[in-house]
C-alpha cells in the first residue's frame, strides 16, 4: 500500500525541515537586487541574484522601519539578513528579510566598473585628450582636504624642490556627503584662477573613503578642465576613475608634487650650463676666425709686392754673387795662363840669350841679320849684348855650312 500525502502535508514537512535547520533561521545573504516591487500593502518583494542564480525575497511592512534605511532599487548590491522559509501557498522557499543594507564594497565595485566602462566608451580616458604637464610652472593648484597627510606631503615636496612656486589650495571635502561636488568645485575654482597645473587627490583610505574620486561629477570636472590635472588618490595600489580621466596619474600625493613641481636648482644648473656652452661656442668661433686670419695673413704676406721685391732682390744678390765669383774665377784662370805664357816668353826672351853670351845683330834698319846675304862689307851693324850696344862695321862675309 503506497503512502499518499496531500500537498499541504509535503509543504508542511518541508517547512518543518527548514525551520529545524538553525542556519536558515538567521543568515545574511549578499546579492544584487532585481524585480524590486514596493507593494501597496507596504511589503517589498524582490529577487536577490548573483551570477549563479536567484532567490525570492520579501520584506514585510512591519520590518521596514527598523530594517531598511534606503530606497531599494534594481541593480543595487545588498546584504539581506533574515530567515529562509517555505511559502506553502506556492510551494516555494524565500527569504523573509528583517534587515537590508547596501553592500558597500560590492556595490561600489560594481558601480566603479560600470562607470569606468561607460566613461571609457565615451572616450574620456583617451590619450588624445591628455594635456602634457608643463615642466616649469609658476602656480600649482591643489584640491584636497586642508588637514591630513596629503596636503602636508604636497606642500613639503613642492617647497623642497622649488619654494618659488605659488601653491594655491582649494580645501575640499574629500569623503562623505558632498565630497564629489566639493572636489569638482575645487577644480573649477582653480581653473578660474588660471594656475599652471592642478593636483587632485587625497591620502589612503577604504574604497568608500576614496569614493568621491570615482564619481562622474569629478570625472567630468577633470575632463572639462583646460588646465592639466594630476590625479593622486590614496596609495599606489588604489585606482580611481579620476586617475583614468586625469592628464597624468601619480601613485601618491607626494609623487604628484614631484611630477608637478620642477627642481629649481636643476633649472639654475641648466641655465649655467647653457651659458657655458654659449660662451665656449663663441670662443671656438673667435679662435677659429683668429686662426683663419693668421693663415690668410701668412698667405697674403707671401703674395704681397713687398715679398716679391724682397724675393727678387735676394735673387739679384745671389746672381750678382755668382757673377762675381765666375768673374774672379775667369780672371784667375786667365792670370794663370798669362803666368804660364810669361814663363814661356821668358824662356824665349833674347835678353836671356844675350846674358848667356849670345848676341843679336841688326842692320841699320833694325832688321835681324840671319844670313850672310843680308850683309856686304862696309855695312854698319848694331850688335846687341847683355848690357848694351856695339856699333860695328862688317869687314867681309864668309859662307859656312853649320852641320
Amino acid at each position: 500500500m503506497r503512502n499518499v500525502y496531500t500537498v499541504a502535508q509535503v509543504n508542511s514537512f518541508i517547512k518543518n525541515m527548514f525551520q529545524q535547520e538553525p542556519l536558515l533561521n538567521l543568515l545574511t545573504i549578499k546579492g544584487e537586487v532585481s524585480n524590486c516591487k514596493y507593494h501597496s500593502s507596504g511589503h517589498i518583494y524582490f529577487t536577490l541574484k548573483d551570477a549563479s542564480g536567484a532567490i525570492s525575497c520579501v520584506m514585510f511592512n512591519g520590518n521596514r522601519a527598523a530594517g531598511l534605511k534606503f530606497q531599494m532599487k534594481d541593480g543595487q548590491q545588498v546584504l539581506v539578513t533574515g530567515t529562509v522559509d517555505v511559502y506553502p501557498r506556492d510551494g516555494k522557499y524565500q527569504v523573509y528579510a528583517r534587515k537590508i543594507e547596501p553592500d558597500g564594497e560590492g556595490a561600489l565595485f560594481e558601480k566603479f566598473e560600470r562607470l569606468k566602462a561607460e566613461l571609457e566608451e565615451r572616450g574620456m580616458f583617451d590619450k588624445c585628450y591628455k594635456r602634457p604637464i608643463p615642466k616649469y610652472i609658476k602656480t600649482l593648484g591643489v584640491v584636497t582636504a586642508q588637514t591630513g597627510a596629503a596636503v602636508k606631503d604636497i606642500i613639503n615636496v613642492s617647497t623642497r624642490r622649488n619654494p618659488y612656486v605659488q601653491i594655491i589650495l582649494y580645501p575640499a571635502i574629500v569623503q562623505g556627503d558632498g565630497a564629489a561636488e566639493s572636489v569638482a568645485a575645487g577644480i573649477e575654482a582653480l581653473e578660474r584662477m588660471n594656475v599652471d597645473v592642478i593636483i587632485v587627490g587625497r591620502g589612503g583610505g577604504s574604497i568608500e573613503d576614496l569614493w568621491a574620486f570615482n564619481e562622474e561629477v569629478v570625472a567630468n570636472a577633470i575632463f572639462n578642465c583646460n588646465i592639466p590635472i594630476i590625479s593622486a588618490v590614496g596609495h599606489e595600489t588604489d585606482t580611481t576613475i579620476s586617475d583614468f580621466v586625469a592628464d597624468m596619474r601619480a601613485p601618491t600625493p607626494s609623487a604628484a608634487a614631484e611630477l608637478a613641481v620642477y627642481d629649481v636648482s636643476l633649472l639654475i644648473q641648466d641655465i649655467n650650463d647653457y651659458q657655458d656652452i654659449l660662451g665656449r661656442r663663441m670662443m671656438d668661433k673667435i679662435n677659429l676666425l683668429r686662426q683663419k686670419e693668421a693663415n690668410d695673413r701668412r698667405l697674403l704676406q707671401h703674395l704681397s709686392p713687398v715679398a716679391r721685391i724682397r724675393d727678387q732682390r735676394m735673387r739679384a744678390a745671389q746672381s750678382r754673387d755668382r757673377l762675381e765669383r765666375l768673374m774672379l774665377e775667369r780672371i784667375r784662370d786667365k792670370k794663370h795662363l798669362l803666368d804660364v805664357d810669361i814663363e814661356r816668353l821668358k824662356a824665349l826672351s833674347p835678353l836671356d840669350k844675350l846674358k848667356s853670351g849670345f848676341s843679336y845683330i841688326a842692320d841699320k834698319d833694325g832688321q835681324n841679320i840671319k844670313k850672310i846675304s843680308q850683309v856686304k862689307a862696309g855695312d854698319e851693324l848694331d850688335i846687341y849684348v847683355s848690357d848694351g850696344l856695339i856699333r860695328a862695321t862688317a869687314n867681309a862675309t864668309e859662307k859656312r855650312d853649320n852641320g
Partner: protein
Amino acid sequence: MAKKIEDKELSIEGAFEQVNEKIKALENSDVSLEDSFKLFQEGMDLLKYCNESIDKVEKKVQKIIGDGQTEDFE
C-alpha cells in the same frame, strides 16, 4: 644691440629651445663673426630671461576661502 625678447609669454622650455637653436647656428662655421656675436648675445638674453622668470621670492601657500579670495594657509 641684440634683439629684445618680444614674446612676454615665452615659456622657459621655449626659451631653452631657442637657445639650442642659437648654439646650433654658432656651431655652423659659415656664420660670420658679426652674426656669431649676435647669436651669442641673443642666447645670453634668453638665458637671462629664463633666470628672471624664476620669481625668486619664497611663496606662502594660499588657501581659497571664497570666490577668488585667498588667505595664507597655516
